[in-house]
Symmetry: C2
Subunit: 468 residues, 2 copies
């Protein structure tokens, strides 16, 4: 600590800030070494500016978070809350001179209750840790973003994350029953409930979900759980075109099926995964559809779904033999983004969600955009939700390719909006898409959103520069 202060040669204001923070935090919870604080500068999004934090704080208690916010309010210092920084929109990026408020040390699971089917957790609990802990009680916490082994529940709440489970089980928002939130001025607000139902007053809980730390600091969450379903059984179907695969998705949903996942990988993604992990996926396919059911007897549903795929033109329909083969297929899907990143070294991952009836048009359009900009754009998609992740692969050292990547990324969002979709299905707005938020929600929407921000954070110290 002493060395870092000497190295940092902090000016008076910064030193004052650190001293004030240390008055309510243990020394090991206040990091000022610039080499260390720099490692808290940004999340995993490309093309998002980030600054150098003044200080990183790692509180362990609600009172410590309140202390940080009181000091921040008094000194008018911006606060950037962070979880595991696995986000894909720059929502956790530091700004110059800010306090980075990392919630990773508040990682206790406080309660798991099988009768009430709830868990009470601190924000720093890792998604996978919660999933495993509730499994031991025969329970299931569905939200499963690709980063589930690293990302935190607090981060999931901040960005309203999704995952593969959403087509059947919905997104993070649907599992948040109540929150404790430290407000900008350090006061503690409790929202929601620990009951199955409750409608007392405005739904402030839901307002905080997806608010990217811009309205308050979530320090505790009551989460709804489901009974653990049977292990899902996966079916893979190969299609001669992305359009045919999307047609199959529409048929499946129109027929009333409730798959536990319905994922699409296009040719580019399949090839990238094979190159990266030697998975032996069928490279002759133009689009691979993965579907699963987690019902007690999935065979009849899988057979019916397979028949619908064939009716839509599938050239191969292969149900997994067992849980291990199912898991292997899911692993391939989960590796998609990493594998696409390996193609050219850098990616921009879009997150456009369209009505699923427009999915075919979306994929068609992305292919045309890839041709226009002469880029490799792989698409993996939570197809059952219409939530696509067109992933632009580019060489960040090549300025022209970088420019084309950024332009194609934006054009993909414009396409999504034209198709009645949204610019973000589950990754959030952050820094990356803030110009696009206004385009999606319009001037009245933007004005009301800004008014809410002003209501909760009149000084504008909570994660400034994000969302708007």
């Amino acid at each position: 600590m002493i060395m870092s202060r000497i190295q940092a040669a902090p000016d008076e204001a910064e030193s004052n800030l650190t001293d004030r923070l240390l008055a309510g935090l243990p020394a090991d919870a206040v990091l000022t070494d610039p080499d260390v604080t720099a490692s808290y500068a940004h999340d995993m999004a490309s093309f998002c500016p980030s600054g150098a934090p003044s200080v990183v704080v790692l509180p362990r208690t609600v009172e410590q978070v309140q202390h940080v916010m009181r000091i921040a309010t008094e000194l008018r210092v911006p606060v950037v809350p962070q979880g595991a920084r696995t986000g894909l929109s720059g929502a956790a990026n530091a700004s110059d001179g800010c306090i980075v408020l990392s919630l990773t040390r508040m990682d206790r699971i406080l309660e798991i209750n099988p009768v009430d089917r709830i868990a009470v957790v601190e924000p720093g609990v890792v998604n996978a840790a919660l999933s495993r802990a509730v499994n031991e009680h025969g329970l299931y916490y569905p939200p499963d973003p690709s980063s589930w082994e690293m990302c935190t529940i607090g981060g999931n709440i901040g960005t309203a994350s999704g995952g593969l489970c959403c087509v059947k089980y919905g997104v993070t928002a649907e599992y948040v029953l109540g929150l404790d939130v430290v407000l900008a001025d350090g006061r503690l607000l409790s929202t929601g409930r620990r009951t199955a139902k409750g409608v007392a007053g405005y739904d402030l809980t839901r307002l905080f979900v997806g608010s990217e730390g811009s309205l308050g600091i979530v320090v505790r969450a009551v989460l709804a759980l489901k009974p653990q379903p049977p292990q899902q059984l996966v079916l893979a179907a190969e299609f001669p075109s992305a359009t045919a695969a999307c047609d199959a998705v529409c048929r499946i949903m129109a027929q009333g099926h409730v798959p536990s996942l319905l994922e699409l990988m296009d040719r580019t993604t399949v090839k990238a995964v094979n190159d990266y992990a030697h998975m032996g996926l069928p490279e002759t396919t133009e689009a691979l559809l993965l579907a699963a059911f987690d019902t007690p007897d999935p065979a009849p549903d899988l057979a019916a779904l397979g028949a619908l795929c064939e009716a839509a033109g599938a050239t191969q329909v292969v149900p997994a033999d067992d849980a291990a083969e199912s898991e292997m297929l899911l692993q391939a899907r989960r590796l998609s983004l990493v594998a696409l990143e390996a193609v050219k070294g850098t990616t921009m991952i879009d997150d456009v969600c369209v009505p699923r009836s427009r999915l075919g048009e979306m994929l068609d359009g992305v292919e045309r955009i890839a041709e226009k900009y002469q880029l490799t754009i792989g698409v993996c998609a939570h197809a059952g939700d219409g939530n696509t992740h067109p992933t632009v692969c580019f060489d960040a050292q090549d300025p022209d390719e970088s420019r084309r990547a950024r332009e194609s990324f934006d054009e993909i969002m414009a396409l999504g909006l034209r198709l009645g979709g949204t610019i973000t299905g589950e990754h959030g707005v952050g820094v990356l898409k803030k110009e696009w938020l206004a385009r999606e929600i319009g001037p009245v929407g933007l004005e009301m959103q800004r008014a809410i921000k002003q209501t909760f954070d009149p000084l504008g110290i909570l994660n400034p520069g994000k969302l708007f």
Copy 2:
């Protein structure tokens, strides 16, 4: 119209208001006859004051609603939005001199889309009409309040209604994807989306759900639909005590069952239903539990559930033979509130939701409160959700009994809060429980709720006197 104006002898302000409204509304959409407007004074809650509206307007278009709100803003006249007035908290009650804005004529189903699994509706669509319309497409709109044959989707959204389906399918809030809302000043705000997922900006959609018309006027809603499940099969179980029935509920939920309904009727309710409708329910029971599954093969689940009931002390477990018998049992449950009303002429229907692990304590406590106040209090409950409706039966002509009814009603809410519950699981706050809202959400919560109200309705013209 002319006669009504003469009869009403409106003062200048009122006549000015009516004339201004008529400038943007057809004559038949503006009611001023006091005999007629009086019939729009209140919803179905007891003990809630209501006033005499100046005028009732019945717009058919979004533009007409915008016109009404512009005039209301300009003239500073309170506006009370109404659906079918089947609410149970006085949230739709008129205040003196207000404009009642009845949305019942905006009753078109604009779209039903089986691939996207959405419906787009106007607010005046009756719940049952929507349910039947989507059924024809193989789809299912779950929320089913007891008043579903009369209540409107707009009212359901305003009060965030529940029903029998919630234990498996959740409440209205979970089915509202996007809204068009006319703001206090007449501007049109679009929130949310028509996609399965979407996290662009703060969740304003959810903020309006349950806001009881105090933040804006919902004029269009995008609703999520589910595939139509098989007809549910019901099982009835008789218990020697309410505690035993609640124990069964806990066992059922802890074992991971997902019933499509799990309802409880206490002895008083069973007797009231028999007296009212001669249903032949078993009067020897202290508590009747109704459970159902809507899976393709419900028999094994019903058998397992029946065994859990027996382990909890059930004296009789009787599965329905078929859909008709199932429907008869549900009909008995749906008649509970009406039947209890017939006991003494008037009821106050509480709506306390507790963690389901505390359900037994809740029912015990209600019984003690009934003894203390020497009142008949029947309890029917969405037991699987811990959502109880203790229903105080009293003679409104008897001042002492009325006083005891009101006091016991409050004591039931205090009990619910002590057990970690909420004062309202699905009926809302309205006028009836506004003192109690503050007790539940605390001073910081109340301040933030008021701040949101102020943000959306700075002049305080939207349903004033409700919630706070």
